[in-house]
């Protein structure tokens, strides 16, 4: 019944693109910046990886587990070198990236968590240089409603959630894109189970189902 929508809400980088306001703003900033070293920072689940994989086509995306040799192998002057989860990089590698960026022949984009980025950027050799920092904020409630509605409409599901229920979902997820996806996935899983068992109480999505999903995801204390 709801298998398609459950799949749509699965947390994967290859999912459908949702161009939220935050996304567009961040993208504009990234494209306009002329600095050779850029930082894309934000809280976990704000959609950093999603943005990197979907919006940057002319680039080289590297994993944080890369070594110095791998980096040397992938170095290209024409393309933007993106390193996701850059907080996991060794300090020596970060230092080398900085030196390479200083030559102005290579341009890098380091995507990392907000807390770790703050620690790295506080270092003196980063302070003194030309660096562009783009921060991704959690999406607003309106954006979240828009995202869920568009996803549901794509699968011919309408008027399944009331405004109060949207409010509740936003209260639990706090605009975290990953959590929203997870929440919706679990919610539809539970709804599907209830309907296959012919539980009349859960014919539609109700408050109880929402709290149940919140408990399952650990967003609500028992």
């Amino acid at each position: 019944m709801y298998t398609d929508i459950i799949k749509a809400f699965e947390d994967s980088i290859e999912g459908e693109v949702f161009e939220s306001l935050e996304f567009n703003m961040a993208l504009k900033k990234l494209k306009n910046s002329k600095a050779n070293l850029k930082f894309l920072i934000g809280k976990p689940g704000t959609g950093k990886s999603f943005l990197i994989h979907h919006l940057f086509k002319n680039c080289v995306i590297l994993k944080a587990s890369l070594t110095k040799e791998e980096l040397d192998r992938h170095l290209t002057k024409d393309k933007l070198i993106i390193i996701d989860e850059a907080q996991l990089l060794y300090d020596t590698l970060i230092e080398e990236i900085r030196i390479l960026a200083d030559t102005k022949e290579y341009s890098f984009l380091l995507s990392m968590h907000l807390k770790d980025a703050q620690e790295i950027l506080e270092k003196e050799h980063f302070k003194s240089r030309d660096i562009d920092i783009i921060q991704l904020e959690p999406i607003s409630k309106e954006e979240m409603i828009r995202y869920i509605d568009t996803m549901l409409l794509k699968h011919n599901i309408t008027h399944i959630l009331a405004k109060k229920q949207f409010d509740k979902i936003y209260k639990y997820t706090k605009g975290n894109f990953r959590y929203i996806k997870k929440f919706m996935k679990v919610l539809f899983e539970l709804l599907q189970f209830a309907q296959t068992r012919h539980l009349s109480k859960y014919y539609d999505i109700n408050d109880c189902l929402i709290t149940m999903t919140a408990i399952k995801l650990g967003l609500e204390n028992e």
């Binding site: 539970l190 189970f193 209830a194 068992r197 109880c208 709290t211 149940m212 408990i215 399952k216 609500e220 028992e222």
Partner: protein, 255 residues
């Protein structure tokens, strides 16, 4: 999929917990509000309790009521006395109406027109003490004389009252014109002309412009067979001040 039912149970538990929480919170807020209101009322009423104005006010009201009641009683007794005294002169007046002069008839008519001021012509000395207007009334002495002459039994009572008044006034160290005049008049009424003249002199020392004291003094002199002196006294007064009453008295004495 036992997980679903477990989650359902947990959800119900949570709901119960939330309900109890909300109840507890509302209960606490109600207590706080109630307590606050109680304290607020206490705080507002405390100064009133300390000063106790309500009780004092009550006391004052009670006292005022008592005094009013006493006053009313006194007035009633006075009125009763007055009515008693009024009855007699009316009869006297009826009998002697033929002998009364024209002036006296006019005065009587005027008095009869005013219902409450009827007792004025025959007012006792007691009333004269309490009422300023009665003292100033010019018709009093002549009518009193009539009353005194006709009823000798009541005179004795009056004399006793006068004596008591005299004693009380003499005991009082502060002598005013009013007191001196009253004493002089009371002595004159009790036919003690010598002591009346004494008090007339004392009163004139305090206020020599008052015609009543001069008149009384002249009448005293007349009664003690000192007509010439009385005429002199009246003339000296009339030199400085105009008084129709004293002029008529002078004319009468000169005749």
């Amino acid at each position: 999929m036992n997980e679903f039912f477990e989650l359902e149970k947990k959800c119900k538990k949570l709901k119960r917990k939330k309900f109890i929480k909300n109840l507890f919170l509302t209960f606490i807020t109600l207590i706080i509000l109630g307590g606050g209101y109680y304290l607020f009322t206490l705080f507002n009423t405390k100064p009133l309790q300390k000063s106790k104005p309500i009780i004092t006010l009550h006391k004052k009201v009670i006292e005022q009521n008592i005094t009013k009641k006493i006053k009313i009683k006194q007035n009633i007794t006075k009125e009763q006395n007055i009515t008693k005294k009024i009855v007699i002169p009316k009869k006297v007046i009826k009998k002697e109406e033929l002998n009364v002069t024209k002036c006296q008839i006019i005065i009587k008519k005027q008095i009869e027109k005013i219902p409450k001021k009827v007792p004025v012509p025959v007012i006792d000395i007691d009333i004269n003490f309490s009422n300023k207007k009665n003292i100033e009334n010019k018709t009093q002495p002549k009518q009193k004389k009539i009353v005194e002459k006709k009823e000798p039994k009541k005179e004795e009572k009056k004399v006793e009252v006068v004596k008591e008044k005299k004693k009380s006034l003499i005991k009082d160290e502060t002598i005013t014109f009013k007191k001196a005049y009253i004493l002089a008049k009371s002595y004159y009424d009790s036919e003690d002309y010598v002591s009346s003249m004494k008090w007339c002199k004392i009163a004139s020392k305090i206020n020599n412009k008052d015609e009543r004291i001069w008149e009384l003094y002249a009448l005293n002199l007349e009664n003690t067979n000192q007509k010439e002196k009385a005429i002199k006294v009246l003339k000296t007064y009339l030199k400085y001040k105009k008084s129709l009453r004293l002029k008529y008295l002078l004319q009468r004495l000169e005749q």
